[in-house]
Symmetry: C2
Subunit: 412 residues, 2 copies
């Protein structure tokens, strides 16, 4: 029988009533003839409660004990989901991570899945069980301790099971009904995409679209798992949600798939840095060592052996970056006259695999912004993405203008 993986997030299993609603969706797929693997998150709020207790107990906690405590939320939902399915006369049982076992690395709280043996669950399917309910987000280390995969890790669990079982599709049920061309709160012309390519989803996820965890998209891309994002609060239908899939499975697509933004950006410029080999390494090693997430990096043209180095990072990391750079200057090996900080910027990006084959997308983007009188402060590009830093007050305007000009409200 073909296997389907269905993952339900915290809001979709927030209480016994919602679990019943989710179980009904599972029942529909079972009736179609699928063997279903259900991955569940903790009931919404429960993980925060558990994390709160751990942090109250020990500010610098042992990650092995953190994992043992925090993983219990998913165990509760898994048991309740199995019971709910049984109540609907669907043969089901629950598995905790160690029972499968979901083998992971020992990197507690940020473990990576290494292996998912399928024999045990396949044998149960062969015996007539129709649904295997798996506690998401967790596994077991080589030392036999409980591990967790980090926040949002249940998406990764779902994709990993879909890959291991060769599932026909992996449905991720969440509280939004799919991936949009942009944030509907910014423009009501935002349109739900029926399909999006893995690469596009990856760029959008890394740009702050919170629909899917980046790691789960990477994993799906590597193992060619068809991912569908859909809302558990919508009526079931074949066209529901957004399918995240291989580029080749998308017949036609707009050149630009979506417009993304990030509000909390800061631009920092080191003035008059010596322009010599190793200087960039010195700067960005100092920053990464203190945990600053540097995003865009631009180096100006050199003059008299000196240059300016500009980078962006989240606003709340400015103080940390400032301190790290001052310390590096103090220690020698890094010289600059001044650090100029602009906390008043936002990042706007257009993303689309169509850019690979179409030229002129960047030029068009800059023209649209210029027409609105928006000055561009920093530009970076990748093969399928163009990002700009602009003054924060123009952010909404920029998103709306780009969405209009690239006609994202119209399907291709």
């Amino acid at each position: 029988m073909p296997v389907l993986v269905m993952k339900f997030g915290g809001t979709s299993v927030a209480n016994p009533d919602r679990i019943r609603r989710a179980a009904k969706r599972v029942g529909i797929e079972v009736a179609k003839g699928y063997d279903v693997i259900v991955i569940v998150s903790a009931m919404s709020g429960k993980t925060n409660e558990l994390v709160g207790w751990v942090e109250e107990t020990a500010p610098m906690f042992d990650a092995r004990e953190y994992d043992a405590v925090v993983s219990s939320g998913e165990n509760v939902t898994a048991g309740l989901m199995a019971l709910t399915l049984q109540q609907m006369n669907v043969p089901a049982r629950s598995w905790q991570g160690w029972q499968v076992p979901v083998r992971t690395t020992s990197a507690h709280s940020a473990a990576r899945i290494e292996e998912i043996p399928t024999d045990n669950i396949r044998a149960k399917f062969a015996e007539g069980m129709q649904v295997a309910v798996i506690a998401g987000f967790q596994g077991i280390s080589p030392e036999g301790r409980i591990t967790t995969l980090g926040r949002g890790g249940s998406d990764t669990t779902a994709v990993a099971f879909a890959a291991a079982f060769g599932a026909e599709r992996c449905d991720i049920f969440t509280d939004v009904d799919g991936v949009y061309t942009t944030d509907p709160r910014i423009t009501d012309k935002a349109r739900k995409l029926d399909k999006i390519a893995f690469e596009e989803m990856l760029e959008l996820a890394s740009l702050g679209a919170k629909v899917l965890q980046t790691r789960s998209v990477e994993l799906a891309m590597r193992y060619k798992v068809k991912l569908r994002v859909l809302s558990s609060f919508e009526e079931p239908s074949d066209t529901a949600g957004t399918l995240v899939c291989d580029e080749e499975d998308i017949m036609e697509s707009n050149i630009v798939a979506g417009v993304a933004y990030s509000r909390d950006e800061a631009k920092m410029t080191l003035l008059s840095v010596a322009d010599r080999p190793g200087i960039a390494a010195a700067i960005f090693t100092a920053l990464s060592d203190t945990g600053v997430n540097v995003d865009m990096i631009v180096q100006n043209i050199s003059e008299d052996g000196r240059t300016d180095m500009t980078f962006s990072c989240p606003t709340n990391q400015v103080a940390r970056a400032d301190k790290a750079l001052a310390a590096a200057k103090e220690a020698g090996g890094l010289n600059f006259t001044e650090l100029v900080v602009d906390r008043d910027v936002a990042k706007v990006s257009v993303v689309g695999i169509g850019m690979r084959s179409h030229t002129g997308v960047a030029a068009k983007m800059f023209k649209i912004l210029s027409n609105e009188g928006i000055n561009i402060k920093v530009i970076t590009t990748s093969e399928i993405k163009i990002s700009v830093l602009i003054e924060r007050k123009y952010m909404e305007l920029a998103v709306q203008a780009l969405h209009d000009a690239f006609e994202l409200d119209k399907a291709s």
Copy 2:
């Protein structure tokens, strides 16, 4: 190093603050040079929350899934306790039932512990770990599923670990400060016992003294585990609580150790039953098949081949007993003219190992009750216990009079 087992009940670990207080008690014993095994219950209220969800989900639940859900409460406390101890610089780690592994039977929700391997934990003690924190109440079945030991099962976990590790003592921390000669709510002359024999504790537990789970006392008696019951809210001291121990460890004791009572008793009498072999079996099989907990049984003298059969059971099981006996009569094989029910009785018992060597205890008990004008309806005796059924309104009076007359307010 000598091993000590310390068990903390739900109210003793109700929140991170209480867990800290409990951890301090553990720290005191570690400082004395003990390797400590800590058994924890779920934070108070948590097990009820989990059971509530299961029952809301499935009124006739799969006990395997029930166990998987309900056991998560203890896992949370175990991790938090280990973190708290680490925070106090006491090397500690948590074990869930399956990690030890605590091997049990497959009788889900009422499993019995069959084996506790000690190698793994002993090795950690040898490496310098000072406290092993164990999630109580749970184990793993031969099939690899999570089991629970039934309500109050954490006491049993504690005693089983004490037996397996040959612990010097097993301290049960709860919200009462020990075992009393009788319920202090009935008479303020009730006195805390310093020591009580296993057999006495067993009788008192089965009579409704809620301090220790009966199974844990049985287990302690079998493996000669010294059990101490004490309050986690009292200042630590060597004379705190009550030691439940072997008879031989009690130098001197009162003939009567305590007076117990049970308020919700009903007395049922089947009139004119045929007095022939097999009739008692027919009656009590019918009752036990429908889950009626029969306590006392008395058969009157036979006359003309007929007799009256009297028994007691909890008041809330009268309707069930009535129905079961009517059905048995209907089906033939059991004949009686009438079933007389007296819902207005209570049971009062005196318990003490001294009765073995002292005669006249029963006579003295009956005299005391008679002096107070209390009529005795049913009497049963065991080697170390005498129980009577009396009219419920005299219950408090009977307990007070017996407590006075046997001088239980005075230590031996």
